[in-house]
């Protein structure tokens, strides 16, 4: 795993760029643990100050330093995305691998469920859940709901890989030497599926963060917990765009775009690594 990352870093510019951007944003988000302001109290600083030497990213109309709010917001948003990604990976792996390996009736049932979830529109369902729960809608609850909706494409991908593994020689060896199904899946097949999981995880993280941003921008999340979408929500509430406080809205957007670019480049270069045909193509092997 680490040797692969090392060699990708050395030989793949996209991976290097994506890795650098992502790590930079992670460090920035982690900096909020050393924030100089106690507990993000409101109206602590002079409001609406443009970016300057003292307040690098300016201050917002709520008297907060945009730099430090953004740092914590990015951290919270990332945590949300990671929880969704991990939960939905677990579902996608289990459904995809079991369905691909068992085949037959189990496969048909699981894939019917899968296709149904693909066809359901996520946003209206999540909005309905929010509408019903209101104040009880914590970010953990939202993460669980998002994870339940966000595994479908990826489990199809994982299934397609597992189907090809099922007929391979080593699987037959495993079966004949009396390995249990679970053991074959985890020990023998999972390593082959890992790159796909990594690749889809990046995309899922992007998806989950967009979802969080979207819902909080609309005000459909806990607006007192700093998050990227929450910052924009408050900026909209104070009409920041119209009154010219552009830094309040520009920096969160910039942060998310940089983070997404980083993750996206990681996903693309991993995809290239997974698919040897495009790697050959890159080296000029296949004319």
């Amino acid at each position: 795993m680490f040797t692969v990352i090392g060699s990708l870093l050395r030989h793949n510019v996209e991976f290097l760029a994506g890795f650098t951007l992502t790590v930079l944003m992670l460090i920035f988000a982690a900096l909020h643990f050393w924030t100089p302001y106690p507990g993000f109290s409101l109206y602590l600083l002079p409001p609406d100050m443009p970016p300057s030497g003292q307040y690098w990213f300016g201050t917002d109309s709520r008297g907060q330093d945009v730099l430090w709010v953004l740092s914590e917001a990015l951290w919270n948003t990332l945590m949300f995305g990671l929880v969704v990604t991990i939960l939905s990976r677990l579902i996608a792996i289990s459904v995809g691998m079991v369905s691909g390996y068992l085949g037959g009736r189990a496969d048909r049932i699981l894939m019917s469920v899968n296709d149904t979830f693909i066809a359901l529109p996520n946003i209206p369902i999540l909005l309905l859940v929010y509408f019903v729960l209101r104040e009880n809608m914590t970010w953990q609850m939202l993460a669980i709901c998002a994870a339940l909706l966000g595994w479908t494409y990826d489990s199809r991908l994982i299934r397609s890989v597992t189907i090809s593994l099922r007929t391979r020689e080593f699987t037959r060896h495993g079966v004949f030497s009396g390995m249990s199904t679970g053991r074959i899946l985890v020990r023998e097949h999972l390593p082959y599926v890992m790159p796909i999981i990594f690749f889809t995880a990046m995309n899922n993280l992007i998806w989950a963060i967009s979802l969080e941003v979207t819902l909080s921008v609309l005000g459909f999340a806990d607006s007192n917990r700093p998050s990227i979408g929450g910052m924009i929500y408050w900026a909209n509430q104070h009409q920041a765009v119209i009154s010219g406080i552009w830094w309040w809205i520009a920096f969160p957007i910039l942060a998310v775009v940089v983070l997404f670019l980083g993750l996206f480049m990681l996903a693309m270069s991993v995809n290239e690594y997974v698919d040897p045909r495009s790697r050959l193509d890159r080296m000029g092997g296949a004319g």
Partner: protein
């Protein structure tokens, strides 16, 4: 039973299953919630000024019936289904006594129009550029174009819309920032109205197109660059078939098939995008209706829009799936 019939039956079965699951989900999300929908709605409603006790009682009865609160859970569930089939979600609470179905019927054409147009443009544009970029890999212009599309790709709908809104709505006020058409033009099939609709729809559609382009581009480019090295293409090249024909008949045509399957799978997600874009541009479609319903605590409206949008997405997926055999000859022949 031939392959085509089996294919169609399978899709129909899937369609029924999706609608069944969606409606059931909507029912259980609202019914198993800890909040009492009727009382919650009434509290919201009375704070909006409707304090006539008779009206409140009438609404309480209507709400109780709407949420099927009479009888046990199973009877409620059946009752809910009969309402969904009749498309009757009762009166809207925030626009009392207008029925929810009327509000949805007024909003639906806007969403359908916006969605159809932007899906069509995105699909054609993304696949064309992607196919060209996969076939002519040496072209510098296509590379630059591709880089631009890939950079926009991960940016969420909301941000693209917001940036367009700020740049082309406020900084350079070229386009209207809200509404579906100019207020004083009567709705109808005339050029004044249509041009106004197109003018108002431009920015919302552009943000949907920009947000969706990347997916088709990336998919098509990798499909094409895989097919280019296939034996039948190399054989055609050696046989002296003109390059234009190879590109359109041998490469692009084969690469289109998986893209059409993807189209059906993407519709549910694009619908979510329009909800956000409609909210941002104050566009009078179903997305805005849904969000307004949530802000105003309009229970019947939210439930109605959610259920109808689930059904609408399922119908469009079914339509694309049923058109698929026209494009893919394998479904008919096998």
């Amino acid at each position: 039973m031939n392959t085509l019939t089996a294919y169609i039956l399978k899709r129909l079965g899937q369609f029924v299953f999706v609608i069944f699951t969606g409606v059931t989900l909507a029912f259980f999300i609202t019914n198993l919630s800890p909040v009492d929908p009727v009382e919650q709605s009434l509290t919201q409603l009375t704070s909006f000024g409707a304090s006539d006790p008779r009206a409140v009682q009438m609404m309480r009865d209507s709400l109780a019936e709407l949420y099927g609160l009479q009888g046990n859970l199973f009877e409620q569930y059946i009752n809910f289904w009969s309402r969904v089939i009749r498309a009757d979600f009762g009166p809207s609470l925030s626009a009392f006594p207008t029925p929810v179905s009327t509000l949805i019927l007024n909003a639906a054409p806007w969403t359908v129009g916006l969605l159809l147009l932007s899906i069509l443009i995105t699909f054609v544009l993304g696949n064309t550029i992607g196919a060209l970029a996969g076939y002519f890999r040496k072209s510098r212009m296509l590379r630059v174009l591709g880089l631009g599309i890939m950079t926009i790709n991960p940016v969420p709908h909301y941000f693209i819309g917001l940036i367009l809104l700020i740049m082309l709505g406020y900084v350079f006020p070229l386009f209207p920032i809200s509404g579906g058409a100019q207020m004083n033009i009567p709705t109808g099939f005339n050029w004044a109205f249509i041009s106004s609709v197109l003018y108002h729809g431009f920015l919302p559609a552009l943000s949907l197109v920009l947000a969706g382009l990347g997916g088709w581009f990336i998919g098509m480019r990798s499909l094409v660059s895989n097919i280019v090295t296939d034996d039948h293409v190399i054989y055609a090249e050696l046989g002296g078939v003109p390059g234009r024909k190879i590109f359109s008949q041998y490469v692009a045509r084969n690469a289109m098939l998986p893209q059409f399957t993807g189209l059906a799978m993407q519709i549910g997600q694009i619908f979510g995008g329009t909800v956000i874009v409609e909210f941002l541009f104050n566009y009078p479609g179903m997305g805005r209706l849904l969000i307004q319903g949530i802000y105003r605590g309009d229970y019947s409206l939210v439930l109605g829009v959610t259920t109808i949008s689930i059904i609408a997405v399922a119908v469009s997926v079914l339509l694309i799936d049923l058109l698929y055999p026209l494009i893919d000859p394998r479904v008919k022949l096998e």
